[in-house]
């Protein structure tokens, strides 16, 4: 299942256009890094894609009924809310909400908990975990939804380096298995290293779209991010490093 956005625009109540005519197609097998400075419209794009915001233009996802949509795409919001003292296992089970109860539920939950390395914490209260562990539990919830598409808003913010790399590798693996991931990211090095494609948002518009090496040009880095940076070609492949401010 692929996701198609055509000319998606969002205008806030105060008249500010936070998303301007974004057209994008996400196909199975892609791990897309959605990058851009603060306020570029990354969160707005992820929310409007699902119809969580009033928007003009079309999104193939927003056109579905809520239940169909919930089975097509899982969403990991940026705000990490856990209102009640649920156990990690119960919290991850919430990801099964859109599905009719079945034996697949327990399997999906156990697998998602293991994928985020939370098996030893499964019976702990999610609110008592550290911030990073809570973030991982919430990612596990989205994984347990077992959707062809995963939308994640800054999934690796606040994670330790090992968890950041593990999560990026997991998302790449999901894409490799034929699913699709669209994740907003701030770490350009990790994005360049693990994503199959980068989409750069700048002031609500797509400024660049393509493989990391073609997108992260000195000109784009300077215009959009106000930084310099370069690719270093090593035995581990091409690594991107930001080097300074412009």
């Amino acid at each position: 299942m692929s996701l198609t956005l055509a000319n998606l625009s969002v205008t806030r109540q105060n008249g500010r256009e936070t998303l301007r005519g974004v057209s994008l197609t996400v196909t199975p097998g892609e791990f897309i890094g959605l990058i851009g400075p603060n306020g570029a419209g990354k969160t707005t794009l992820l929310r409007a894609t699902q119809g969580l915001l009033p928007a003009t233009g079309t999104s193939s996802l927003a056109a579905l009924t809520p239940t169909q949509r919930a089975r097509a795409a899982a969403f990991l919001p940026q705000s990490r809310e856990i209102a009640w003292d649920l156990t990690v296992e119960t919290l991850v089970t919430l990801g099964r909400t859109p599905h009719a109860p079945s034996e697949a539920d327990a399997t999906a939950v156990t697998k998602a908990i293991a994928q985020m390395a939370l098996t030893p914490h499964a019976q702990r209260r999610a609110t008592r975990l550290s911030g990073g562990e809570q973030a991982r539990a919430l990612i596990a919830r989205a994984l347990a939804q077992e959707t062809p598409l995963l939308l994640a808003d800054e999934p690796i913010a606040g994670l330790d380096p090992a968890a950041q790399i593990a999560t990026m590798q997991l998302f790449a693996q999901l894409a490799h298995e034929g699913r699709a991931v669209l994740a907003s990211l701030h770490d350009l090095s990790l994005a360049a290293r693990h994503c199959t494609r980068l989409v750069v948002l700048h002031e609500g518009r797509i400024a660049a779209d393509g493989p990391p090496e073609q997108v992260l040009t000195p000109q784009l880095l300077s215009e959009v991010f106000h930084i310099t940076g370069s690719f270093v070609f090593t035995d581990h492949g091409a690594l991107f490093t930001p080097t300074g401010l412009t």
Partner: protein, 328 residues
Amino acid sequence: MTPTRLYTALGALTVALFLASLTTGPASLPIPEALSALVTQSDGPATMVMREIRLPRALLAALIGASLGLSGAAMQGYLRNPLAEPGLIGVSATAALGAVIAIQTGLAAAYAFALPAAALSGAAIATLALLALAGPRGTALTLILAGVAFSALAAALTSLVLNLSPSPYAAAEIVFWMMGSVADRSMTHVALAAPFILAGMALILPLGRGLDALTLGEDAAASMGTRLHRMRLALVLGVAASVGAGTAVAGAIGFVGLVVPHLLRPLTGHRPSTLLIASALGGAALLLAADTATRLVFPERDLKLGVVTALIGAPFFFHLVWRLRGRL
């Protein structure tokens, strides 16, 4: 504890307290005689006491307790805030205002349904305005402030109605009525309130799955297929119908919706959906127990049920404030 075992235990407790309520009262009836008078047809005084005094009283206590417990659990789940409670945040007070206006204007005497309708409208207006003011993202502080404002406004307007009341006796009667009680109610009261209470509860009970999903916030819940607008509407109508109808026949009975979910939450694994049914059963049990207690503690004085629940509930509120303070 599994949900089924918890429901069974609470259900058994409710049934036991219901029987206790039926067999407690100033007319000294031995328990077997009391229960047989309830089920056998006769014109004796025992049958009259059981069917026309004790049965409506126990039924109303169970129904109103269940609706208050359920409403409290549902509002707390929706607002993700353990302080939400129909009595505390002004829903009961505005329902009482609606009822007082209906009584004072004579509407209640003219049309039997004017009383629940007026109380229900008051409750609906308050619930809608509260959700709009405090909002699902509102903090505990916003909600309590909005609730205090509503309670104060409703109390002021109720005082105004009483103030302008032509007869001091009517005013005194209303003051007593507002303290909240299920004593001396007839089956007519039950027939008047039960349909609204049951309909309101039927609207709230299916919301469990959505309330569970809301644990992770609105966006996450929506992305998991929860229709938030529909849920909000069902919640508002459900709380207004059940609390409004209960207040119309029994006055304002506070704190049940605060105490019951608070006590039962740890037993439900903090899961909002499990808490809904548990709180309905627990609310019925608490109100039956409190109402029976009013007859046992001061048998010769007419102790009001609302006074007892407030005496039980207020310390819980202190406890909650203390805990929240520790977390900030």
